[in-house]
Symmetry: C3
Subunit: 348 residues, 3 copies
């Protein structure tokens, strides 16, 4: 389906693109492209790219105006080529050249509610019906979207953006160049209670949340404030949608986490980890650097050696699965039967 938001196409010559992407151009420098497209759906006026080998077969028949390719595929490209060592990274750069997101102007919308005790840079934008509480600092070039609430004494570092309807509680620190997507909530109370005669006594959550620089936080993702010390997300961490991060979790630099994953309280995740979607990580664990966790795994022990970890079972037809799942519940007894057979084998 055609891209519906492509309201204002931008136009670039291949010479301009080669320069912007640090690419070698094989083709006419003054040829113009006005958008990005997949190899399959590209037309003469669009730029495409080949980064995933799975799509190599589509290169020969592409109708694109030009294609970003690796030197190894350059000769197979039937149209103009922008040749680079890392086509996926070049595509990432090119995507911003064609970005059609609406411009936001640096002003405080008249319907926004900004406390007199807040400090807002005059290069910042505060959207319609946003609320900025007392003691807040909004640094230069920050965008606070419509309907956002920034709680007392929180700080948003320069060039960071809160999309519409983001909520920061009090005492939350957002670094520079961060993006927080709509519905994200930072600084809610950690889930801390002491049981007293069957009733739960709330533990006041005195810590805050500290988010580093260049952090990306997805839609409806939630990060709780710490019980005593802060919950900490370090620089270059990227978090997808609907992730839950409990109090006093610490996530190391450059770690990426996919949607619907949950991390329980006081767990520390290392640097440069890649955690797939819908993973559950128990509390009070330590995961070392460079760990990969596959989709929907349950992590119940600390990990001290880098590498890939998994749990769960593979999918089957329900009819087959039910038989196997029934057997799983007998597994320990089955192994004992195997042991009995082995003893019998040794005797005979």
């Amino acid at each position: 389906m055609k891209n519906q938001s492509d309201i204002l196409p931008k136009s670039w010559t291949l010479a301009e693109l080669a320069s912007a992407l640090d690419a070698e151009l094989k083709g006419k420098p003054d040829q113009v492209v006005t958008g990005l497209a997949t190899l399959e759906s590209a037309t003469r006026d669009t730029l495409s790219f080949l980064a995933n080998p799975a799509y190599e077969s589509q290169l020969a028949s592409t109708k694109a105006g030009a294609v970003i390719v690796h030197p190894n595929q350059a000769d197979l490209c039937p149209v103009s080529a922008l040749v680079v060592g890392n086509p996926y990274l070049a595509y990432a750069k090119a995507s911003h050249l064609f970005d059609n997101a609406p411009h936001v102007s640096a002003e405080i919308h008249t319907s926004a509610s900004v406390d007199v005790g807040a400090v807002v840079s005059n290069t910042a934008s505060i959207g319609a019906n946003a609320v900025i509480e007392a003691g807040v600092t909004i640094h230069d070039n920050v965008i606070v979207g419509p309907g956002c609430v920034v709680g007392a004494n929180s700080v948003v570092g320069k060039y960071s953006r809160l999309h519409a309807n983001v909520t920061l509680y009090h005492g939350v620190q957002i670094g520079e160049h961060c993006t927080l997507h709509s519905g994200a909530v930072i600084g809610g109370d950690g889930f801390g209670f002491a049981n007293h005669d069957g009733k739960w006594q709330k533990i006041a959550q005195l810590g805050g949340v500290t988010i580093g620089n260049y952090v990306d936080i997805g839609v409806n993702t939630t990060i709780d404030r710490g019980a005593i010390d802060d919950t900490c997300i370090h620089d270059y961490v990227i978090l997808d949608n609907q992730i839950q991060i409990a109090h006093n979790v610490e996530i190391g630099e450059g770690t990426a986490i996919a949607g619907c994953t949950g991390i329980a309280g006081s767990t520390t995740i290392g640097k440069h980890c890649t955690i797939a979607g819908a993973v559950g990580i128990a509390g009070h664990l330590t995961i070392c650097d460079d760990v990969h966790i596959t989709m929907r795994s349950a992590i119940t022990r600390s990990i001290t050696e880098s590498g890939s970890y998994s749990s769960g079972t593979a999918m089957s037809k329900t009819r087959e699965w039910r038989k196997n799942a029934t057997r799983f519940r007998q597994l320990d007894r089955i192994v004992k039967r195997v042991q009995a057979l082995e003893r019998l084998g040794k005797k005979s």
Copy 2:
């Protein structure tokens, strides 16, 4: 517990109901009922229904004024009966006759912020503190609830309703007769990044989201915009709460998905599928039409044959489970021991 929201009961004669539900009436046409109730809790002034065979035993003792029943059970009904071929569908119709949700009037609330460059039908309702950005089109009879944000250039088709605090990013197309529940966010950036020396370079998400007609989207459900082309949800799709749909997913007509399910990027789901709760579906897969997936399954391969699919293990007492789960981690070695026994058996 008594229904607390039943502020304005509505009153219908059985003759009126028989006509509205296309039912055969066994009972007095001028008997009146003023609400809906389960067989067990119904009283003389309420209508009930029997759709699930599990509740058949409650029919004989019901105190309802009338019951919607299948012809097979009509003779067992001790009170007035509205006899129809599909009692559950008739109950669905009847539910709207007793709907007590407050009426929303067609007006733009004075506290709403509507950009001068937006087009809003004069039969539409824009709630308190809602924000409508530039280039937006709100068609006839649309309801935009309080606190909603509709991003630039988005379109909401006629008779669609956004409940309170829904967020649409820019360039989102909502069809006609859709319902979006509170906290739903449509059009957030897809989770696209290229890694460069341990730092994640964001890929601008240039596509939009296209939602068909008669689509229902649950509370806090999130649908990301496409990387290049649009993410597409086709007509008659129903999505429960807290579902995560990644960029460039396509969901076919009439498919139903239960709460907490997540679908990773670029996966295509067929028509008329029923996907249970908390399922995880990996990216770049194709699921054919008429597939059923059971609760909490992990789908890691494409499905080309309709039918029911599952993964996971059945529940046990933790004490038993722990033994079996330990054995699971030895399963490959156990099978090798069985093979050794088989070789031994053949020799002897």
Copy 3:
């Protein structure tokens, strides 16, 4: 990392603390502490506590001004001690003495939209850009945060607090002393549809939601309204973030549920259960009192005996896991091979 939200430290003498916590003081009554800290990071001016035996080794070297300890550890404490039978409960009480959350004053913010048909106590606080619809009752000392929407005819009991951007639909009853965190949505439509020739016919959800007293509801947690009767959450229930509770669920007094858990429609959970994170519970089940469910379990049958229940598999390295997961899919056939060997063993 240092607590960033600690804007206004509070100061207490050990004599005051001993009195407030019902503790026996071993140390100087006029010694002053101004905050809470962990044993490891505490300094002379902070109070710490020892509740988890895992941290006992940190007691001897703590630099805290005073420590809350159990009588059994009192002699090992190198600094002033506040001796109590339940140190964790005493810590819970102490946390509120050092709570630094900003004070909210009892007023209706000028930007809030309060319907003339709503009743708001003059001791209540209504935040900036909040929306209170017709027929709502807000009782004494309630705090409704910025951006909240309280739907028609809903009621919020005294001393309850809605943090920023909470949404209540119409006909929702919140008891007294409840806390609802940001992004929580109470009263969305239950996921009820009847299929008619491949199209889903919506069933109007006529019930409401009834929340008892002293209930805590986490960030982005969702509780749907009932189809006919109300969805019910009883007193002293605590719910973490991103929990999904479907229509007509009932949760018994004092039950605690951790983040990302989902409960399908019409299931009844007993009293004093503890349900870990990311658990999935199928619909129409009954779980008795005092049940514990471990992290990420799938509960597909009713539970009639108290105790601990689990499902899933333990984590491994992906390389090992893949082999075992493959074997899982052959499990029924493997057991048949074991049976064949057993028959062979009996013959020989």
